[in-house]
């Protein structure tokens, strides 16, 4: 009797072990990547968050409570960077998304000749290095640059425009540059999802008498909605983190006219006497903005579930 009981217990124990292993074996497979992500993503994020409550020059950091966060509101350079970045965001992202949509619809037309060539041409900017293209833009729009030469020769202007020394022009150049670089990238997303759209939908619409505009607004846009959401979120994030272009084309100038938040973080860490604490605070502002804007975009354009 006793022997049997023990055996039974042993068996149930064994069975529960098996169940336990079966249930949790998945963890074993992902434990390495979980640890790695924890170590290289979450640990630095927490450290940076703690850092944002410290201030001081270089290695002599001290906890200062919410001083850094209060300092943000009275810091004209930060506010200038925030306003500039918002302008880039509000002007550039919609323009780029619309352009990318138009290009992708045009290029999706099967009757268009040299489609492959145009697709490559519009996508190609994407594979160029950020620094390389920024420098080229800088020289294109220099006082003796090719754009000024062209405008002078066709008689559109009587004197060279110093694009990069004018606060408004400088912003426009930055926006032009980012749009040139990223439109093709977004266009590819639209193109690929357009190719999954059944042609019969358009055919049916045509039979019902819908013109091209109606087809675009009533069929193409609703079908592309998830992709539009995706591209606008990634573009928003990209614009909030804007650095290379500003750094290389204008260095934030003239004055603070083109300064982006990321470049301000760079300045605080490496250009001035380093204050890594305050720089971390500013970088957390970007995090908050991205989270906030992404939530809004989901609410506006996402599925209401």
């Amino acid at each position: 009797m006793g022997q049997q009981l023990i055996n039974k217990e042993h068996i149930t124990h064994k069975r529960s072990m098996k169940a336990f292993i079966r249930k949790h074996i998945g963890w074993l497979f992902i434990i390495v990547s979980v640890l790695a992500i924890g170590l290289f993503y979450f640990y630095p994020m927490i450290e940076a968050f703690l850092l944002s409550f410290q201030s001081g020059a270089g290695a002599s950091l001290k906890y200062v409570g919410f001083d850094n966060w209060m300092r943000l509101f009275g810091d004209p350079s930060f506010l200038a960077a925030l306003i500039n970045t918002s302008i880039y965001l509000l002007v550039q992202v919609p323009v780029m998304i619309v352009l990318a949509l138009i290009f992708s619809v045009l290029l999706n037309d099967p009757t268009l000749k040299f489609r492959g060539f145009f697709r490559t041409a519009i996508f190609l900017p994407c594979v160029t290095s950020l620094v390389a293209y920024s420098v080229i833009f800088k020289y294109l729009f220099g006082v003796d640059g090719i754009v000024n030469h062209f405008l002078l020769n066709v008689g559109a202007i009587s004197e060279s425009i110093n694009f990069l020394a004018d606060p408004i022009w400088a912003k426009i150049i930055i926006i032009l540059a980012i749009t040139w670089r990223w439109t093709g990238y977004n266009m590819i997303f639209y193109l690929s999802s357009l190719q999954n759209v059944d042609h019969s939908i358009y055919e049916a619409a045509r039979i019902d008498g819908a013109n091209a505009f109606q087809q675009f607004f009533q069929i193409t846009i609703p079908l592309l909605k998830p992709i539009i959401l995706f591209t606008s979120i990634t573009s928003t994030i990209g614009t909030l983190q804007l650095f290379d272009e500003v750094m290389n084309i204008t260095q934030g100038g003239p004055g603070n006219a083109t300064l982006s938040i990321s470049q301000y973080i760079y300045n605080l860490s490496f250009e001035y006497t380093p204050d890594f604490g305050y720089a971390a605070t500013v970088s957390y502002v970007i995090v908050i903005l991205i989270v906030f804007l992404s939530i809004i975009q989901f609410k506006v354009a996402g599925d209401k579930k």
Binding site: G58, P254, G255
Partner: protein
């Protein structure tokens, strides 16, 4: 079939690439945990300009007779600043050099932000033998940390042919005020159509030079209190700057290559800047004999002198393994070697601030490019007159504020208002 051959060939090529690069990595990783010095028994030195400070290091290495080998590493200046900041603030000495070149405007920032990171050189060099203004910026709390390298002594480079066309001689532009300079600039522009100088709205080097010629800076003597709204020299410098813009004698540039391009192509009649521009001016060999160097103009106010400084840098020894050896290297080269300084002047065009060296032959050489003038000895003469100022640790932070202020001022805002805004902004930012 052809396709497969290609794929195989491509993968082999890829593998070879990967194998080669990973080979290098293993070499590097063997250094882990030890400083370069322990590993190789050689001291490393970082600098940024192959034509200037790197070349100077090479000559110093040649002149050095000690037992230690010196490895010279070229890094962009921005990279050096980033590597120092990240390395020193994380507290690791791995991969740090023994000797590093730091721009004088940034020196106090590093010395104060990272106490104990630099090795004091008070006993290694004789500070009395170097220009006063230079030792002031390279020391902290009475301890000397830097070995001065090049002088940033400023001069006014002028095109004598353009001046002649406008009816001026070299004497007419010597020891003048900035107000007189603008008047001459107008006449030169009228006669030749050339601008008098270049200005870069993002780089207020001109303002810095003007301020220092009157012994003043963005900060007070303590090196940390912003000195803007009540700074008469800065106010005057702003007026001069606007005067140049209003008189339409300045060509606007937005980077270094445009700046150099302007005088190399003969677009401007003068270049007021540091003496380190000499090699760049001489690049345009066909302009030989058409240039002259005169003292930098002064601000039109009491106490201002016709001497100032722009830029310049110094050598520092990091407090890591091999610091004694590094200090020994500097002491026997840039710290005392008169011969080396002659080589530097002749071969590199670098004017030092080591006074015993100025007696040497190289300093007295007549330069045909500048009409046979002894420009090096002229520069070292002016070096003695440069008013010493404490650059403090906020030069670039304040300058970014001032750059914005300058834009406002040029666009019509009242000057006192602009400077007061800048003052309160600087006070808020520099805590």
């Amino acid at each position: 079939m052809k396709k497969y051959v290609w794929i195989v060939l491509m993968s082999i090529g890829w593998l070879v690439l990967v194998a080669c690069s990973s080979g290098e990595e293993t070499n590097n990783s063997s250094n882990e945990g030890t400083t370069e010095y322990e590993e190789t028994n050689a001291i490393t030195a970082w600098a940024w300009d192959p034509a200037f400070n790197i070349a100077a290091l090479e000559h110093a290495k040649e002149a050095y007779s000690g037992d230690y080998d010196v490895v010279i590493v070229e890094n962009a200046q921005d990279d050096i600043i980033q590597k120092l900041n990240t390395g020193l603030s994380s507290g690791t000495t791995k991969g740090m050099p023994n000797i590093v070149l730091i721009e004088d405007y940034r020196a106090q920032s590093f010395l104060q932000a990272y106490p104990d990171a630099f090795h004091p050189l008070t006993d290694v060099i004789n500070t009395d033998e170097f220009a006063d203004y230079k030792t002031a910026t390279t020391s902290l709390d009475g301890k000397q940390y830097g070995v001065p390298f090049d002088s940033g002594v400023a001069g006014l480079y002028v095109r004598t042919d353009f001046l002649e066309e406008a009816g001026y001689t070299v004497e007419d532009v010597s020891n003048i005020t900035w107000a007189e300079y603008i008047e001459i600039g107008k006449d030169v522009k009228e006669a030749t159509g050339k601008n008098m100088l270049t200005l870069d709205p993002n780089d207020l080097g001109q303002i810095r030079m003007m301020m220092q010629s009157n012994g003043s800076w963005y900060v007070k003597e303590d090196g940390s209190t912003p000195h803007i709204s009540e700074n008469e020299s800065l106010k005057k410098a702003f007026e001069v700057y606007k005067g140049m813009m209003d008189a339409d004698i300045a060509k606007i540039v937005s980077d270094w290559s445009q700046f150099v391009g302007a005088f190399n192509s003969g677009d401007v009649a003068s270049v007021p800047t540091g003496n380190w521009i000499t090699p760049s001016v001489k690049q345009a060999a066909e302009q030989s004999g058409k240039w002259a160097v005169v003292p930098i103009p002064r601000l039109d106010m009491e106490g201002a002198v016709n001497a100032s400084n722009l830029g310049g840098s110094s050598w520092y020894v990091l407090n890591v393994e091999g610091k004694e050896q590094a200090a020994d290297f500097l002491a026997n080269t840039f710290g005392s070697n008169v011969e080396l300084y002659q080589t530097l002047v002749q071969e590199v065009g670098a004017v030092g601030t080591y006074s015993p060296a100025t007696e040497g032959d190289a300093y007295a050489v007549e330069d045909e490019f500048f009409g046979g003038e002894q420009i090096v000895s002229k520069f070292s003469e002016w070096t003695d007159d440069i008013p010493g100022v404490n650059y403090g640790q906020h030069t670039y932070a304040i300058e970014d504020i001032i750059v914005t202020g300058m834009q406002d001022y040029l666009n019509g805002t009242e000057l006192s208002q602009v400077l007061e805004n800048a003052q309160s902004q600087a006070e808020a930012q520099l805590k």
